[in-house]
């Protein structure tokens, strides 16, 4: 975008006319982008802000004073003196004709098509398309087949926009997809025996404007308009891709990336996307137990209160899946029990990946190491952890409270399991069963990352708001957040329970790293911990 930088560093502007109005936009913008800034949304199929311009679908045609024929607004740039009409007779009839053309071979599949309800073709057809077909010939048939382990193509629905192909060329850099044949027989395919199987493949389904690419994970699972959506953050690695978690009748059905140009652009990786299945894995814990016997929820809370009120100094073993808010509550508990100490365990590193587009997958397979280090100190997973383990093994503590979260992780290793079982009273919050629960005094089912409500800090130091996929007040909505506060209330170190935002306010008031931040200012891209929300004066020194 250096194109519009002038010598004195300001942005050069172009004056043009949009539907008869004089308007200005930064030089170098396309008509489509510029019109959007003035509230005019020009329809598109092949255009995607994250991909190169292909200009093949023609739905975005508008009338221009510089051309006898309509021009495509996704690639044509604004220019001084340019006059564009988006609603003139020519523009409207061009759009209508393109719609009619797109629908010539399109099947009437909407009632059984997974894309229905969020389909660009359906939307544009409703707005710009004819309400009946003049096409009396036979519609052609194109292949329906698996393109890879997670994706199939319904060729009849493909409008050959090439978004999926450009994605594999430009974003994942894997180039598995191509268009085969030509004309009305064109359809997306893979080279024989080279399936689409890259770490970002699932994104092609999201960006397919129609229901041609279908994810096996979501096929026939739900009608999109019936689902509840929550703006969450993926806890699969320290990137913290912004996601939307969609649920139906209390079941997670799908994860989709949410645009965040600071973190994940429009994408997410398949491991995170399909990871939600682990929520329903056989080893998921749903039942509290006391010395191996099942406990009702109330009795579990009572047991927790009893064990902690009788305890002396407590050892706290935290994990990097806890939100900053949960960690703040743990810290409050530790502070109220003199002689307590805190250490953390980290899951083993996975493999990092960097893609040509700049998209990254982190080797650190957890969301909030940075948060823990800001709250408990930078040695919480280092020296403090080593010391804590030693102390536990030599039974220096009578009581340990451990957090074993992360539905995708393999849990704390053998040495931590040993340390926990050497402590007489062990209270363990765990997402799933595993060897670390051996001999536990009290086991409490815990939440997986997308069930938590609060904030995490990613590997760039970006503070991001994640929302639980469940509604507040319904289990397992952020169980630890609720349970730790109930406990604090019972122990007399808290007056009343707050929402995650309230707890965050306490944290920000007590911890310089977080000072000046609050939930409502985080917005959707989040904020670097070092960039305070505008309008909040900091009393210097802390950064």
């Amino acid at each position: 975008m250096a194109e519009n930088q002038t010598n004195d560093g300001t942005v050069a502007m172009t004056s043009w006319q949009l539907n008869g109005q004089e308007v200005e936009n930064p030089t170098g913008m396309t008509i489509m982008e510029a019109a959007k800034e003035h509230g005019i949304e020009i329809p598109c199929f092949c255009y995607h802000p994250g991909l190169s311009i292909a200009g093949n679908c023609r739905i975005c045609m508008v009338e221009s004073n510089r051309s006898r024929k309509p021009v495509i607004s996704c690639s044509e740039k604004i220019a001084d003196g340019l006059e564009i009409e988006t609603e003139s007779e020519l523009a409207v009839s061009s759009r209508n004709s393109v719609m009619e053309f797109q629908l010539i071979n399109h099947p009437l599949d909407c009632p059984v098509c997974d894309k229905a309800g969020e389909c660009t073709l359906q939307d544009h057809s409703y707005e710009h398309g004819p309400d009946r077909s003049r096409f009396v010939e036979d519609k052609n048939i194109r292949h329906t087949k698996e393109l890879g382990p997670n994706i199939s193509i319904w060729g009849n629905r493909c409008i050959v926009c090439t978004r999926c192909i450009r994605f594999c060329d430009e974003i994942s850099g894997t180039s598995e997809l191509c268009i085969v044949e030509r004309g009305d027989r064109s359809v997306v395919d893979v080279f024989p025996e080279i399936p689409i199987d890259n770490q970002l493949a699932g994104n092609t389904v999201d960006i397919c404007p129609v229901g041609a690419l279908i994810s096996h994970d979501f096929k026939y699972e739900a009608r999109v308009w019936n689902m509840d959506r929550k703006d969450s953050v993926c806890g699969g690695c320290s990137r913290g891709c912004n996601v939307e978690v969609e649920t139906l009748d209390g079941f997670v059905k799908r994860l989709m990336p949410r645009e965040n140009l600071e973190v994940n652009d429009w994408w997410m990786c398949d491991e995170g996307r399909y990871g939600w299945r682990h929520l329903y894995a056989d080893d998921r814990l749903s039942q509290a137990t006391r010395d191996g016997t099942a406990l009702a929820d109330d009795s579990a809370t009572a047991a927790l209160e009893q064990l902690l009120s009788e305890s002396g100094p407590v050892a706290f073993l935290i994990d990097p899946f806890l939100t900053c808010e949960e960690m703040h509550l743990v810290q409050g508990l530790a502070a109220s029990r003199p002689g307590s100490s805190v250490g953390g365990w980290l899951p083993e590193d996975g493999i990092a990946a960097n893609f040509p587009s700049g998209f990254k997958i982190s080797a650190a397979k957890y969301p909030n190491r940075a948060g823990a280090e800001h709250i408990f100190g930078d040695q919480v997973f280092g020296n403090d952890a080593t010391e804590l383990q030693k102390a536990l093994v030599s039974s220096d503590f009578n009581t340990v409270v451990a957090f074993c979260g992360g539905h995708l992780s393999s849990g704390p290793g053998e040495s931590w399991a040993k340390a926990l079982s050497s402590t007489p009273t062990s209270i363990i919050f765990s997402v799933k069963s595993g060897p670390w629960l051996e001999g536990a005094s009290l086991v409490l089912p815990a939440t997986a990352p997308i069930e938590k409500d609060g904030t995490w800090i990613n590997e760039d130091g970006r503070l991001q708001r994640t929302r639980s996929c469940w509604n507040p007040g319904t289990e397992p909505f952020s169980v630890e957040l609720v349970r730790l506060q109930t406990l604090q209330n019972a122990l007399g170190i808290r007056g009343r329970s707050l929402s995650a935002a309230g707890i965050f306010r306490e944290l920000a008031a007590n911890n310089d790293s977080f000072a000046g931040h609050n939930h409502s200012d985080l917005g959707s891209p989040g904020l670097l911990l070092s960039e305070r929300p505008a309008g909040i004066a900091m009393d210097g020194g802390s950064e």
Binding site: D169, C178, V180, E181, D189, F191
Partner: protein, 168 residues
């Protein structure tokens, strides 16, 4: 998977010369596919894979290009590939009748190959010989100003050639 096929040294020389004629390697794909076709006889999966690896182009891209054009010999094409032009001039001058006549004589529809593997029939777009419509291309030869009798004659001749080739 290692490729078991490769260009003969003569073809390789021609390929290297081709590369000097184009600004990028990708731009030399069409003529390179021609070389592959004449060296290997057809463009099937191993042949496309070989060209992709040789030119360092994604195999899917090569696949897309090969299937876009009608003039490459894909795997499974009969000994004689009869491509009947069906674009405007030829259509007006009776290309549909030419196609039906061939179908009648050979028992195959466009897109099909005879069980004996001798003939493949295709309908293709303009072959640039509109002044002599209707016309067809059989392998590398044009047959123009066709009457239905010409079609019959051509088929007899090709059949004899195919069968003769088999015996000899």
């Amino acid at each position: 998977m290692a490729n078991t096929i490769s260009f003969c040294s003569e073809t390789m020389k021609q390929y290297e010369w081709l590369l000097t004629r184009y600004p990028t390697r990708r731009a030399a794909l069409l003529p390179t596919l021609r070389l592959a076709e004449s060296d290997f006889g057809e463009l099937g999966v191993p042949e496309m894979r070989y060209v992709a690896d040789l030119m360092e182009i994604p195999p899917a891209f090569v696949f897309g290009v090969v299937t876009f054009y009608t003039h490459y010999r894909r795997a499974g094409t009969g000994k004689f590939h009869i491509q009947v032009c069906s674009t405007l001039s030829c259509a007006l001058r009776g290309s549909e009748d030419v196609v039906s006549r061939i179908t009648e004589r050979l028992g195959i529809k466009p897109g099909e190959t005879t069980p004996c593997g001798h003939f493949t029939l295709s309908k293709v777009e303009c072959l640039g010989s509109c002044d002599t419509a209707p016309m067809l291309q059989c392998n590398d030869d044009y047959h123009e100003d066709l009457s239905l009798e010409d079609v019959d004659q051509l088929i007899e001749q090709l059949r004899a050639e195919a069968e003769g080739g088999q015996n000899g």
